[in-house]
C-alpha cells in the first residue's frame, strides 16, 4: 500500500474517532457499567449509542423528567442553573435528600450557565477562595463518571499573561499560595510563553509580554452539558426539575419562610435555597432582603469555527481580553463588564471594541477571524467580588449568590457546599468564608483590592 494511502487510512482512524477509537473500547465500557449499576435511565455509553444507532435512536428517553410541581417538598431550590441543579444532585446523592424540586423560571440553563465562556480554574490567591475552587476542580475531574454524562471537561491549561515586574510578583504570590494548597501553578517567563503561543505579538506590543502564570489543570467544560448532566443525574435520583416556573413570592408562617408562590402555584418546603445568580436581588426582595449585590451585564463572543490552533485559555494582563477555542472550533472570548447595572442580557458597542482591541493587541493573528455572535449575561456582582453561601437571617431561606463572572467553575463545589448547608445547617469547611455578614464585619475577600465598587471586580 502506498505511503499516501496508508496516511489516509491513518487519518480516517484519527478523524473518525467514533468509528474506531471508541468502537475499540466500547464493549468494555458497557460490560463494566452493566455489572456496576442498573439505572432507571438508559445508561450513556458507546455500547448503548451503537445499539440505538441500529434502531434509529428511537429508544432514548428524556434526559430528565419534565416534572409538574407537587404541593410540598423537603427542599425547594430556586434557579435551574448550574448551581441550583448541582445542589439538587448533591442533596440527593450525598445527603440522601431527594424530595427536592428545582424551580426554573424559563428553561434550565437559560441563565448564566448557558451563556458563559466555560473557563474552569482554581488559580485563586486568598485563603477564603483557594480551597473552595480547588475542591471544585477536584469535582470537575471526576464529573463524567459521577454524572454518567460527558461534560467535556478539558484541562488544556489556563495562562494569565503578565507585562511588568510588579504584575509578575503578584502572580508569583498567587502561584505560591496555590502551590501551598497543593494546586498546580507555574510561573513562565517570556520565552516560556512564546513556546506555548508563538503567534502572540512579541515584537510591537504596547505592553510587552514578560511571562505568565500557568495552571495546567485549568481549562474549559461544555457549559450546556454541565446543566443537562446535573439535571439528568438529579432527576434520575428523584429530584423534580420544574421549568417555566417562576418564583413570584414567599410564603411565611410564624416568622419563617415555609414556601414559595410561583407562576405554577404555591409550593411548600421546609427549606428553600436561592441560586438565581443575576436575579438574586430581585428574588431576595420578595423576601424583604437587600443584598450587597449589583447586577451587571457581561458580554461574550464567539467566532466562526476555524481549525483549532489555540490550545488552552489565555488571559491578557494589560487589557480586557481572554480567549479559548471550543471543541467545535469557535474562538470563545470576552473581556470586562459593560460597567452599568443591567438585567437586559445584552451590552453595547464600546465594550465590544474594548475587548477586540485587547484581542488585537495580544493576538493580531486572529484579526481576520470573524466574530459570529455576541451576547450578554446578568452577573450577580458582589461588593468584594467573592460569593455568598450562607443563611439569610430569615428562618428557612438560604442564599447562594454573588458569583460575579466566576461562578461556572464553581458549579460543582457551589452545589456541594450549598447542599451541605441546606442538609446540615452548617457551612461546609471550604465555604466558611462566604458569609453574608462579612461586609459588616470587614472580613472581606477582595482578590482585586478594588473595594465596594462591584463593576471593578
Amino acid at each position: 500500500m502506498s505511503v499516501d494511502a496508508a496516511k489516509c487510512i491513518f487519518d480516517i482512524a484519527e478523524i473518525q474517532f467514533v468509528g474506531r477509537a471508541v468502537a475499540i473500547i466500547g464493549g468494555t465500557i458497557c460490560r463494566l457499567y452493566h455489572s456496576a449499576e442498573a439505572v432507571a435511565l438508559m445508561h450513556y455509553s458507546i455500547f448503548n449509542l451503537m445499539r440505538q444507532a441500529l434502531s434509529g435512536h428511537r429508544g432514548w428517553g428524556p434526559a430528565w423528567r419534565d416534572a409538574t410541581p407537587k404541593s410540598t417538598y423537603d427542599v425547594v431550590i430556586i434557579g435551574g442553573g448550574g448551581h441550583g441543579l448541582a445542589t439538587a444532585h448533591y442533596l440527593a446523592k450525598v445527603h440522601g435528600i431527594s424530595n427536592v424540586a428545582v424551580l426554573e423560571r424559563g428553561w434550565i440553563g437559560s441563565g448564566n450557565a448557558g451563556r458563559n465562556t466555560t473557563i474552569i480554574r482554581s488559580n485563586y490567591l486568598l485563603p477564603g477562595n483557594n480551597p473552595f475552587y480547588e475542591w471544585s476542580m477536584k469535582l470537575w475531574e471526576g464529573l463524567e463518571q459521577d454524572l454518567n454524562y460527558n461534560a467535556m471537561v478539558s484541562q488544556r491549561g489556563v495562562l494569565n499573561i503578565y507585562h511588568s515586574d510588579a504584575q509578575r510578583d503578584t502572580y508569583a504570590r498567587r502561584g505560591n499560595a496555590m502551590r501551598m494548597h497543593g494546586v498546580d501553578a507555574e510561573l513562565l517567563d517570556a520565552a516560556g510563553v512564546r513556546r506555548m503561543l508563538p503567534f502572540l505579538d512579541y515584537e510591537s506590543a504596547r505592553f510587552p509580554i514578560h511571562g505568565g502564570l500557568l495552571q495546567r489543570r485549568g481549562g474549559t467544560a461544555r457549559h450546556d452539558a454541565v446543566v443537562w448532566g446535573f439535571a439528568r443525574a438529579a432527576s434520575d435520583r428523584g429530584v423534580d426539575i420544574i421549568q417555566n416556573c417562576e418564583v413570584t413570592g414567599f410564603i411565611r408562617a410564624a416568622g419563617r419562610i415555609v414556601g414559595v408562590e410561583t407562576t405554577r402555584g404555591a409550593i411548600r418546603a421546609s427549606k428553600i435555597g436561592m441560586a438565581v445568580a443575576g436575579s438574586s436581588s430581585r428574588v431576595a426582595a420578595l423576601a424583604g432582603l437587600t443584598l450587597p449585590i449589583e447586577s451587571h451585564v457581561l458580554q461574550a463572543f464567539v467566532s466562526e469555527a476555524i481549525k483549532p490552533f489555540i490550545a488552552g485559555v489565555v488571559t491578557f494582563g494589560a487589557g480586557h481580553f481572554y480567549i479559548s477555542q471550543s471543541d467545535k472550533g469557535g474562538l470563545v472570548f470576552g473581556g470586562d463588564l459593560d460597567g452599568y447595572n443591567s438585567y437586559a442580557q445584552r451590552g453595547n458597542l464600546p465594550t465590544v471594541e474594548d475587548v477586540c482591541e485587547g484581542a488585537m493587541a495580544l493576538m493580531p493573528a486572529i484579526g481576520r477571524v470573524r466574530v459570529l455572535r455576541s451576547w450578554g449575561g446578568v452577573m450577580d456582582m458582589s461588593m468584594d467580588g467573592s460569593p455568598i453561601i450562607d443563611r439569610t437571617g430569615i428562618e428557612g431561606l438560604y442564599l447562594n449568590a454573588g458569583w460575579c463572572y466566576g461562578g461556572f467553575k464553581a458549579t460543582p463545589a457551589s452545589g456541594w457546599c450549598f447542599a451541605h448547608l441546606l442538609a446540615r445547617d452548617e457551612s461546609h469547611e471550604v465555604a466558611r468564608a462566604y458569609r453574608l455578614d462579612r461586609f459588616a464585619s470587614g472580613h472581606l475577600i477582595d482578590e482585586r483590592g478594588v473595594g465596594a465598587q462591584p463593576n471593578l471586580h
Partner: protein, 89 residues
C-alpha cells in the same frame, strides 16, 4: 447607549464612567449606630429591575457627576440631571 449631559449634550456611552446607585448619602459619622448605617449605605443595593437612579461621571467630557434615571431592563434613559442644584446657583 447615549447619555444627555446637561452641559455637553447627548454623548456616547464611551465618554462616561459608571459609579452606581445614586442613593448613597454619607450618614452622620457621630451617630451611635454610625458603623451600621455606613455599612448599609456603602454595601447594600436595591438593585432594581426597572427604573434606577444612578450616578455617572462624564469622565471624558466636562467631568460633571450626573444623576441618571435609567431602566435597567431596557437601558432606556428616562432623565438626567446634575446631582444637586449647581453650587453657585
Amino acid at each position: 447607549m447615549r447619555i444627555q449631559c446637561p452641559y455637553c449634550g447627548e454623548r456616547d456611552l464611551s465618554e462616561f464612567a459608571y459609579h452606581g446607585d445614586a442613593a448613597f448619602r454619607r450618614p452622620d459619622p457621630d451617630a451611635p449606630d454610625a458603623a451600621a448605617r455606613f455599612f448599609e449605605a456603602l454595601y447594600l443595593r436595591e438593585n432594581p429591575a426597572g427604573p434606577h437612579e444612578e450616578l455617572w461621571y462624564h469622565a471624558s467630557g466636562c467631568r460633571s457627576w450626573l444623576r441618571v434615571t435609567r431602566n435597567t431592563r431596557t437601558h432606556e434613559i428616562l432623565a438626567v440631571s446634575f446631582p444637586k442644584p449647581s453650587a453657585s446657583a
